[in-house]
Symmetry: C2
Subunit: 566 residues, 2 copies
């Protein structure tokens, strides 16, 4: 067995004081789980179907489609403890606070069922499954990582197990190491992949359960069955601490506009949650920009109006939140990027002959349809060059490199100058930019995330011990006390639909965008005029682990408002 | 009286949960102060002299030079309570966590002496003193701001009261409003200014005491008498939380080098403190770069060696801390900037005729001495243009706009490419940048800063009531329990020396740079080789206000090590 030794050392003197104390925190297990897997019985609901494209999804997942939702109820179930098993876990995709506690929950769940059960961790993400690199997660090793942030115990990776060769390799390594429970911790794509592996193993007649665990700070893995993905709570608390501090600074210095870009490319949940926590003057929500089919000029104009109105009150300062993915939500920008991707590929030779950026730009503009050519002309020089020059290895525009907040500031500055000429603006505009992303992915998990991830892991162990393959670990009623959380499993196929990815139809778990009819967005919409004019800032401060419960254990505004609705 | 009404509303429902609980925190007063000003007696020490240039400083401060250090001792002093007085406070310079608690300490100290004493707050910094804009700080108003971050209660500003006209205006407003105690909360420059005002009022025969309070997150206002300035503790805790999270992310993702620039232009204390709290792979300290007279190429080479050594171990990731002021500590860069300032001013017309940046650059290079011309040529395009084009209203290069971390990354990339050609490097280098500054200036003050600032304010009130004008509020023994802190005052002139500023000799409080022979730097020097090779990261996590004392009340590593030495 290719077990690699973990050389992680974490003696007390090499830990921060908080780490030492946080290590002693005991996550609260839901009552239903607290007596261990042998006291939990599976209660199957009605057969399920996928959220859309039922026939197509069923065809791709003949062995795992239509399975019932599962709820855990109290009852003797000693069968799960009889035979010692090997289980394995893999972390997939970007880091999220609480990953280590999922593993702790898994370990404790499996060990409670049978102390001879073993848990292995594949190293470096799904590639570790293919290459068969793993370590044993012993209780002693685990104790150094309980309630800590990061994925450093076994790391993560972005490989997917998709091709026949990869699937076959994964199967081989699972079979050879007698692994009968395989847990994938990941976002929507990784859990789709977990569903694919579950289906494959069933097809191949391998007696191993594959269980998914919903992770992503972006908050876009949620639906009727999954109330939230883990990590979102902690990450947004960290970002809100920073944004709150900036709001206080703005209100003290009273001379700058701060533009804060927040992580979240495909959905604006983080930005919305941070806005509800801090009440900034302006919050842009990608989903709304898309729904209203706003042009870039309209977005800039919306900003300019607020800046000008505040300037009239003598307030040349404020805070603006910008979701990382804004650019791709602006229809004309999406169109421009798509057109550029084609145009630059088709004219590679001709462009290579032009040495100056200005010539390249002229050439590109001459080839674009008028509407897009005008848009390209309106972009600040730096951004226009970046769109033409910074390409990924496939030749595509690297949207993630675009510093949206700087783009907005440059265009806003031009718009304000114009308003000044027209006598409609008489203020000063100085802007400062921030981007928060990496700062939140590996924070110490909040009490909520520490409890939630531990429960998700423990619950996943119970699902695996009951051979519920192709399920996502599901813990619900999250606005209640953790003791009262409901546990069970959701068939992965139930959340899928068919989408086109790179020109091919693929089954994928549907991404949750900000619901413009949902209560969280409505709260923003209801208050934003007031927040724009005033300084209604809230200062959440640093996340607390000790002290009054309403400070330490409060959940997200998003969850609170979503539950209110029900 | 031109009292402006404060329209700050902070009803519970508009505060975060943490704000509400934090509002109830009662700072611990040093035992010597806890029975109020009437139980504190002044014990004068020996006459003092300035740290340097004694004759010159004495000449400028004939009325306030040479005063004794003051220690507070227990004893009846009912005189301070007899007559009701008006006091006023002004916040000067950049925000620092705890400013509101200085004001709370002042208010409580003055009110304890005589409930009819009044405290006013000048608005918007020293310009509020000149323009006579102020509000009364009533107990009810104060209660909304206790233990909060920011300076929003009365705001701050960067004006200095220096010219005869300004001094005379300030005097007029102090006299007209019967203010007999005037407290200036600020950094080295602002406290120098407090000394100037104290001297001026004495000279003019005005019976008003001027007291300074040492504030700055940068940590560069400290000396034999002042152990630390307030705000440094909180700000470095906030930055260390972020840097620790990034270290954990780096160690989980294992594919990026993160370059973190930290606030602190004239000294690298913040960077050093954050390094001692988090153990990053590389920490650049401006003062060391200066002492070793390192060139930019040498700094880049130092980085390249560590990156290459880690790559050899398969570790293409790490964390680098860069102090904001690094560029100005590199002798040749300082020289280049000075030369450019002159050259660009002298050749304004000739340069205006050149339209292309490349032509301007060629022209500039042709005029520079060879050494500086070579340096200019070695700089990445973007930085070189920035040096030539981004000028402040005085025509000077805007050093603070230079994104040092990006400069280092670009040059490092070139150096690594060269090492690769030479077969000395075989890794991948992807870099991500961060700048933390504004995020820390207005954080919720730590327990330490909340206690320290409250004590500084209360202590300043006692100094003022005893008519100790020209003193800095001094609270010492800060590594002990707040109850055992020593209180008193230090003559402002004692910390001064003469420096050339804008071509003129001026008395200023000497800035404290990182002491390369001091214990904090030695700790870095002793450990940095190990930290470079390994992942000895510490994860301080978010600042805690409740829970175990060693988590909530721990002081800075800098203070701890500086006291160890003694």
């Amino acid at each position: 067995m290719a077990t690699k030794k973990c050389n992680k050392k974490c003696a007390p003197q090499t830990c921060s004081q908080l780490q030492q104390h946080r290590g002693k925190f005991k996550p609260v297990l839901p009552n239903i789980l607290k007596n261990g897997p042998a006291s939990v019985k599976v209660k199957a609901g009605k057969p399920t179907k996928s959220v859309a494209d039922q026939a197509k999804v069923k065809k791709i997942f003949p062995h795992t489609y239509g399975m019932p939702e599962i709820a855990f109820v109290k009852g003797a179930n000693s069968g799960v403890s009889k035979k010692a098993i090997n289980a394995a876990v893999v972390l997939s995709g970007g880091q999220a606070p609480g990953g280590h506690n999922v593993i702790a929950g898994l370990l404790d769940g499996f060990k409670k069922a049978n102390s001879r059960n073993k848990l292995f961790g594949f190293l470096g993400g799904p590639s570790g499954v293919i290459e068969c690199k793993f370590i044993e997660i012993t209780p002693a090793l685990m104790d150094k990582f309980r309630n800590t942030g990061g994925f450093d115990l076994i790391q993560s990776g972005r490989t997917k197990i998709e091709t026949d060769e990869q699937l076959s390799k994964a199967k081989e390594n699972i079979v050879n190491n007698k692994i009968s429970a395989f847990v994938v911790v990941g976002g929507d794509d990784s859990n789709t992949n977990a569903g694919v592996i579950a289906e494959y193993l069933k097809k191949e007649g391998v007696d191993a359960s594959v269980i998914g665990v919903p992770k992503t700070i972006d908050g876009d893995l949620k639906n009727e069955q999954i109330e939230t993905s883990f990590g979102f709570d902690t990450a947004t608390k960290i970002y809100a601490e920073m944004v709150g501090n900036i709001c206080r600074d703005v209100n003290s210095a009273r001379k700058y506009w701060h533009f804060v870009r927040l992580m979240g490319r495909s959905a604006s949940h983080i930005t919305l949650e941070v806005a509800l926590k801090t009440h900034p003057n302006v919050t842009l929500i990608g989903e709304e920009v898309l729904a209203k089919k706003m042009t870039l000029a309209q977005v800039v104009d919306y900003l300019a109006k607020i800046v000008a109105a505040r300037a009239k009150d003598g307030k040349n300062f404020g805070v603006v939140l910008v979701p990382e993915g804004l650019i791709e939500f602006i229809p004309e920008m999406k169109e421009l990027i798509a057109a550029l991707n084609d145009l630059l590929a088709d004219n590679e030779e001709a462009l290579a002959k032009l040495s100056k950026v200005s010539e390249k730009k002229e050439f590109v503009i001459s080839k674009l349809p008028k509407k897009l050519a005008d848009l390209m002309k309106s972009l600040p020089e730096g951004i226009a060059s970046q769109l033409m020059l910074d390409r990924d290895p496939h030749g595509n525009v690297q949207v993630s490199l675009i510093e949206t907040e700087k783009l907005l500031i440059e265009m806003l500055r031009a718009r304000l100058a114009q308003l000044k000429k027209e006598g409609k603006y008489n203020g000063k505009f100085s802007a400062i930019t921030h981007f928060f992303g990496y700062e939140g992915r590996c924070g110490v998990p909040s009490n909520f995330d520490a409890n939630y991830t531990y429960a998700l892991g423990y619950n996943a162990a119970v699902l695996a011990l009951n051979k519920c393959s192709g399920y996502l670990s599901s813990v619900r009623n999250l606005v209640k006390n953790p003791k009262d959380w409901a546990c069970g499993g959701i068939p992965l196929t139930m959340m899928m639909n068919i989408e086109r990815r790179k020109g091919k139809e693929k089954p994928v778990i549907r991404k949750a965008l900000v619901d413009l009819k949902g209560e969280p967005f409505k709260q923003l919409a209801k208050n934003r005029e007031l927040w724009a004019k005033t300084e209604s800032y809230l200062f959440p401060g640093p996340m607390q682990f000790f002290g009054p419960e309403e400070v330490t254990d409060m959940t997200t505004e998003t969850l609170k408002y979503e539950h209110k609705k029900k």
